[in-house]
Amino acid sequence: MSSEQRTDEPILRVVNLKKYFPVTRGIIFKKTIGTVQAVDDVSFDLYPGESLGLVGESGCGKTTTARTILRLDEPTSGEAYFQGRDIFKMSRSELRDLRSEITVIFQDPYASLNPRMTVGDIIAEPWSIHGGVPRKDRKNKTQELLEVVGLNPNNVSRYPHQFSGGQRQRIGIARAIAVDPKIIICDEPVSALDVSVQAQVVNLLEDIQKEFGVSYLFIAHDLAIVRHIVDRLEVMYLGKIVEEGDEFQVYDHTAHPYTQALLSAVPIPDPRAKNRGNRIMLEGDVPSPTNPPSGCRFRTRCWKAQDVCAGEIPVLEDRGQGHPVACYFPGVEFSASGAPPTTTA
């Protein structure tokens, strides 16, 4: 189910989104001395009921993309259409309504719940903002939600610090589904959790999707986790999308060298598999987003880079791999399963 074949309308369409942060100096008289190009010309579609993964290493702009779509940060330019309406042109009241349609699950379950509020108040807060559930029914509804996310309904009057990380994340999930949203943006929802709890939370998210039919924009840096939940994937590097495709295309017909490097770093849980031999070690650090390299942003660390890579910025398009990739020399010499792609396909 690659994007080209879909005939239904996307529920969220992000077009040429840019977010530049000014770098300023001075205390009273601030002077802009540069910009951080956190998100640069990012476009993608999210379809109803689908999970779209947004992956990339720290600092590549995944979270900024999400925050901008939610208007927690104002975009520099671009458009984002939710059911055809541009989020960036919405008035205050439209924006408030939007925020019952798109909700968020945050990365850090210790920081995302107000420590002074009871679990019941935390989960019920969306209703006191958007209405929808009469005051007298809120306690029952809260308890139902706690049950949905696998917590004891008697916990409504306890405080967040009395819960473990995984349990807190479940509270965050209950809050996110309280208003029956169409999209949930999951900003690295499991990366702060114990490995043992990660799988539980991912499974809970999958169950919720089955039950409520929400779309997920799933942000993560752990490709192994993402694989379980997403239908399609956008790989980001330094503010740009470098590869896009469904789970099979990206994991088994990896075309962009950066994605290949990322996938080669996914540990294989088999001690005898250590001689796989195709781990790609990237040289150097991520270049500064204040001053990104010309042309392809990955060229400074790419083993395939040639002169052409420093010229025009490679466009995200299908270059004969069956899915869009922003690279002049896409190749399939590596796949996630470690075996040659011809045999897996």
Partner: protein, 345 residues
Amino acid sequence: MSDDPSKESQEANDGTIGDESHLYADTVGEHLPVDVVTAAGDESTEKHQFRQTPGVAVGLDELPRNASLWGDAWRQLRRQPIFLISAVIIVVLIIISMFPGFFATHDPHQCNLIDSLLKPSSEHWFGTDLQGCDYYSRTIYGTRVSISIGIIVVFFVSIIAIVGGSVSGYYGGSVDSIIGRITDIWFVIPTILGGIVILSLVSTRGVGTVSLVLIVLGWATLLRLVRSSVLAVKANDYVDAARAMGASNTRIIVRHVLPNAIAPVIIVSAIYVGVIIAAEAALSFLGVGLQLPAISWGLMISNAQRRIITAPYLLVFPGAFLTLTVFSFILMGDALRDALDPKLR
């Protein structure tokens, strides 16, 4: 802490770490559906736990009353002798200031020149002053002035600081710059020096005048504290979560920011009551505070100064009351700090 249930379920989770990470990791490379396996483990871990221990779950329902930060703080404070001592002293002083007639042995304004400068005796516990007034009764009545000025000033200063500081810290930008610069300028005006300058221009000075001047001069310190506290709280994910939920700014400040930012303000306010009481005494001593026939410890100390050799008790009694009062408020502030600041626990 009696929150064993969360600990127990944590242990239950820990027990499954090996199993689940294994199950999960296994599927990473091979891309098998894990739902069935981990979902079963997941649900049984937490739900089962609660079913098994109904006794604990009942205990839970009683827990919440004391489980908040204030509940924890109160439980710690009750056991702290410093807090208990200072609280008792402050409560007694407040009662004295409300009903001084009940504690006094004489009318403080009924003076007999024949009794001038008597030493402490069973008739006049603290002796008499130059005019022959009962010194004990005057000291008791002096409590009223000190406590009311301290409480009035800190009450209004706190309101100014909380409103100004949260607006400044939460909204930032130009509002913050304007409030910030004014505060910086105000902050450098020394309270006592400013008080002398302003109060020397006023010919009749009562509790109201002195309080007003101390409010006008004293708000800057506390406002800066509120602002920095709000800034620190604002950076938390739960504030973003509330914004992403569509909460209004007022709601975010009142429900999310202030409850988390208020603890240091309460601590400093308690100390500040002592500081203001001392400032009033200093101003009255310098002759620019309250005027006779008002009764104030500062005035009493001022008049006692000339007879420090012949009648030292005239200095000692009001001085001791003043010191004790200021000291109690400062100790109270320290005890609150220990209880409210989790980092010091």
